[in-house]
């Protein structure tokens, strides 16, 4: 058909449907095709905690949002321009994200009385004026799919399962994407079920052909989104979980150590266990423990024995591990603890994102137990922060907390694949000299305790959680010794500030009216908001902290160069509290704890109000 075209530098598309409708699969396929098309992109899967909620229920709606375009894209976007709603529940829960004039694609076949009632629509939104502000593409996808896959003899139910691919075919046409990567993916995924693969491919092709040949309503345009200018190189689509898993493998390699990854299933951290369990051909052993405590303890045991112990969880699980983490602080053993943060407290919002475990990471143990905390700011960054966590853990013989969150873990972005040969190795040297050995020997510079692993002749020794003599490592209840050991443990961690990069300004000048200081997954939204504000002539900079503890050595001085400090966080004010207490700076908080990432516009508004007030 002859459709109009619309030019967009960037655009946000949101797919929404039942959790059984395959929206995440649809989204990831669209993502891959978009990456191959040459756009920059960022994605945000937004799914419910229920695995298979009752069909048609609003709480079972699963969504996948992608922001892509020709500019640097660092968030999944604020305002949806194209919404795909597979049923009334998906429409009622997602319409609020669509901008006026945006396009909504609906499957009229799913808008029956039963589904309308489940979504609590009193009348059909397709004909009661609800959608007047939008461009509506209403198609009976149900019957289109049934016809498209008829020849494969699938049951009615199985045939209907192909409707996500039919819809994807249609969307591919609207955005001028190549469907081949999806066809290849379907063939691989259903290699043992060729009928299913072929039915899905037929549905995909049918949706694509429908769009091309059918007379689409006026006002529906093909979206032209030009390619981005990208740094040349080899790219892959990377989500935070995979980046973190591979970063751990990379860190183990650089440290020349085997890894024991011990974990207990918890949303949204389990995927890290899955990712590493599938990679046991690398130097990693994965251990699904009986509980969170056993997981961290097994990791500590492995570190004692000369591997690098890593454990992973979300907030509630980290709380359970904290006693054992304190043991690792006391015994001065390396350990990496990954916290993929989620909405809290308690079970909270398991599938939604939050940054409310920063204080738990820095302060959440018993006794004086300082340890380094590192935070990832976007999916690809997880690769480098995992390596950094392992470097610090082994160099300083300390547990390290690595913070990710549900958003980063599931979001994906094109990743320029680095050459691993360019990474600086940090091989561990185990102590093996018997002369003068005590388990309390320390490196004069780093203050790190020696690592003498069982199996080494002549270095038999005991360690534990009881306070140890600074000189011999034997049990000591001496008051002065406890003071000295506490001071030493603190000094060891404080010293790390000299071994981490100085804080950079990510965008804007190194002084000015306002610095927006963030950490973790707010990176993208802050970055865009600051960029837009600078374009409008505001004196504002973006500073994003990776080393949350100890803080970079120059941070205080850097922050002093701005009239005001604004700290956006997905919590009620944690980094802002640290900045205020550490630096006596009157930093302001911008907080959001809705389980949804910040919108660019929310931060932009706060910047303006902070500068103009």
């Amino acid at each position: 058909m002859d459709a109009k075209t619309e030019q967009h530098q960037n655009i946000v598309v949101r797919f929404a449907g039942d959790s059984g409708d395959g929206m995440q699969l649809t989204g990831t396929n669209f993502t891959l095709a978009t990456a191959l098309h040459g756009n920059n992109l960022s994605t945000f899967p937004d799914f419910p905690a229920e695995i298979r909620a009752p069909v048609g229920a609003t709480f079972g709606v699963s969504a996948f949002q992608i922001y892509f375009g020709s500019e640097d894209v660092t968030t999944a976007g604020d305002e949806v321009e194209v919404l795909v709603a597979m049923n009334p529940a998906a429409l009622i829960t997602n319409l609020k994200y669509l901008i006026p004039g945006g396009m909504v694609i609906v499957d009229t076949g799913a808008f029956n009385d039963k589904n309308l009632a489940k979504a609590k629509y009193l009348s059909n939104p397709l004909d009661d004026g609800t959608l007047d502000a939008y461009r509506v593409l209403a198609i009976d996808i149900h019957s289109q799919v049934i016809t498209a896959v008829e020849e494969f003899g699938l049951s009615h139910k199985m045939a209907l399962r192909c409707k996500n691919m039919w819809t994807l075919g249609l969307v591919f046409w609207l955005f001028d994407r190549d469907k081949q990567s999806t066809i290849d993916g379907l063939k691989a995924k259903f290699a043992n079920k060729p009928d299913i693969a072929n039915a899905n491919i037929a549905a995909l092709n049918a949706g694509n052909a429908y769009a091309e040949t059918a007379e689409l309503p006026s006002g529906i345009a093909i979206y032209k989104v030009p390619k981005a200018h990208q740094i040349p190189g080899t790219y892959r689509n990377m989500n935070g979980t995979t980046a973190l898993a591979w970063g751990l493998l990379a860190g183990g390699k650089l440290a020349n150590l085997g890894i024991l990854f011990a974990s207990y299933p918890i949303t949204p951290a389990s995927n890290l266990l899955h990712a590493l369990a599938a990679r046991k051909d690398y130097d990693v052993i994965t251990f699904q423990a009986e509980d969170e405590i056993a997981a961290v303890c097994a990791a500590i045991g492995a570190s004692f024995a000369g591997s690098l112990g890593v454990t992973s969880s979300a907030g509630p699980g980290i709380a359970l591990k904290q006693e054992a983490i304190s043991l690792a602080v006391s015994a001065e053993l390396p350990l990496v603890v990954v916290n993929t943060q989620r909405g809290g407290p308690s079970t909270g919002l398991p599938t939604k994102t939050e940054q409310s475990d920063l204080l738990q990471a820095i302060y959440g143990r018993h006794g004086d137990t300082p340890l380094p905390v590192v935070a990832s700011s976007h999916p690809g960054d997880c690769f480098d922060t995992a390596i950094e966590a392992m470097r610090l853990a082994t160099k300083y013989m300390t547990p390290v907390m690595l913070l990710s969150d549900g958003y980063i873990a599931n979001a994906s972005e094109p990743w320029l694949i680095p050459d691993f040969d360019n990474y600086e190795p940090f091989p561990v040297t185990f102590h093996d000299k018997t002369e003068g050995f005590t388990p309390s020997l320390r490196d004069a510079q780093t203050l790190a305790r020696v690592w003498a692993k069982p199996g080494t002749v002549g270095l038999e020794h005991r360690i534990g959680g009881i306070e140890k003599s600074y000189d011999t490592g034997d049990i000591s209840y001496d008051p002065d010794n406890h003071q000295k050991m506490t001071d030493t443990r603190k000094a060891k961690i404080d010293n790390i500030a000299a071994d981490i990069p100085l804080q950079e300004v990510h965008l804007g000048g190194s002084s000015g009216k306002l610095a927006v200081v963030g950490w973790g997954s707010t990176y993208g939204a802050i970055h865009q908001a600051v960029k837009r504000s600078i374009r409008q002539g505001f004196s504002v900079a973006h500073i994003h902290i990776r080393h949350m503890w100890p803080l970079p050595a120059n941070l205080q001085e850097l922050l002093a160069g701005y009239d005001n400090i604004l700290v956006p966080e997905m919590n009620t004010g944690q980094l802002v509290k640290i900045i205020r207490s550490e630096f006596l700076i009157d930093a302001k908080a911008l907080n959001k704890v809705s389980g949804q990432p910040f919108k660019i516009s929310e931060i932009e508004r706060a910047i303006k109000s902070e500068i103009t007030k």
Partner: protein, 338 residues
């Protein structure tokens, strides 16, 4: 066999740390037995690792001149599992108590046994919390008066060996702190077992629970209150050596009989350490009616977690170029931007 290993003596396994248990504590006898036994294993001393939790018994590693890790309450089996997974060459011992292993750490004990991780778990059961000054424990008999149960405890105790059997342990045994020969023999068999081995050691706490095992320990009366079981041997005990244990095949329960009086010798039960049903019955004997069984209650090897883990990994690695990060980073779908 390494010559140097053979030459080791009890002294080599004794650390320079002052032992700080109360005078008369059963732990001294256990420590001495194990220090004396270690050279017999013909294993490098540097490969011995003792891991403990919290409690009186958990101070044990400090007194062994081996690698040792005194960890946190209840978690020794988990930490020991990590040690073993990181280096399967090590002999890993877990030293624990009734509170440590069966109360706060019950979950880890259960799962270490279920998984059959190759650990030697020695549970010093004194039926009391010693280090925290005498509260009743999950193995204390009903009516135990303690600071936290001044009117006597009202909850039923559990049997460590029954818990171990119920958790799927493939090696379950019981011995007594001061019976050096018997304890040595049991620990030797536990050490030889490939997989998790569980040994309950009845241990006297002279301060908070003194004499709790006197019946089974006092040489004058022990013959009537304990039975030394051995695979293939009839379950006979008593001062006169004329009492036996018979299985009532109607009720599937055990009964004490007097041989020659109410039971012919051939009807006395013969211990079969591979029979789980018998082990369950024998392991729970005690109380007023039955003698306490000491010896190997159950031994029936099954696949162990550590071996299977490494076998699986080797299979996975076969024919693969492993460990190249650049290959990993470029695996799957990639594209070039020029």
């Amino acid at each position: 066999m390494n010559q140097a290993v053979n030459k080791l003596t009890i002294k080599d396994y004794t650390s320079d740390q002052e032992v700080r248990w109360c005078p008369g504590c059963g732990d001294y006898a256990i420590l001495k037995t194990i220090q004396k036994l270690m050279p017999e294993f013909d294993r490098p001393k540097e490969n011995q690792v003792f891991v403990s939790g919290i409690g009186c018994s958990s101070r044990f590693p400090y007194y062994m001149n081996t690698y040792g890790f005194h960890t946190i309450h209840g978690r020794a089996p988990s930490i020991a599992t990590g040690v073993k997974l990181a280096n399967p060459e090590l002999d890993v011992w877990v030293i624990t108590g009734d509170g440590d292993a069966l109360s706060i750490g019950g979950n880890h004990t259960m799962h270490a046994l279920r998984r059959n991780v190759n650990l030697n778990i020695l549970l010093f059961n004194n039926e009391i919390y010693g280090l925290t000054k005498g509260q009743y424990s999950p193995t204390s008999k009903v009516g135990t008066r303690s600071p936290s149960t001044p009117q006597g405890s009202i909850d039923l105790p559990l049997s460590p060996c029954a818990v171990a059997l119920g958790s799927g342990a493939a090696f379950v045994a019981r011995s007594i702190d001061t019976e050096m020969k018997h304890l040595s023999s049991v620990i030797k068999q536990a050490h030889a077992h490939e997989g998790a081995s569980f040994v309950e050691i009845l241990q006297n706490c002279p301060i908070y629970n003194d004499g709790i095992f006197e019946n089974v320990k006092d040489k004058k009366i022990a013959a009537d209150f304990r039975i030394e079981i051995e695979h293939g041997k009839a379950l006979i005990f008593g001062k006169e050596n004329n009492k036996g244990i018979r299985l009532n095949k109607e009720t599937l329960t055990l009964e004490v009989v007097t041989i020659g009086e109410d039971c012919p010798l051939e009807d006395v039960l013969v211990h079969d350490q591979t029979n789980k049903a018998l082990a369950n019955l024998i392991g729970e004997m005690g109380g007023d009616e039955f003698p306490v069984a000491v010896g190997v209650i159950y031994h029936n090897p099954k696949p162990n977690y550590v071996d299977d883990l490494f076998i699986q990994r080797e299979q996975l690695r076969q024919g693969k170029e492993s460990g190249n990060l650049n290959t990993l980073l470029r695996s799957g779908h990639t594209w070039e931007v020029v």
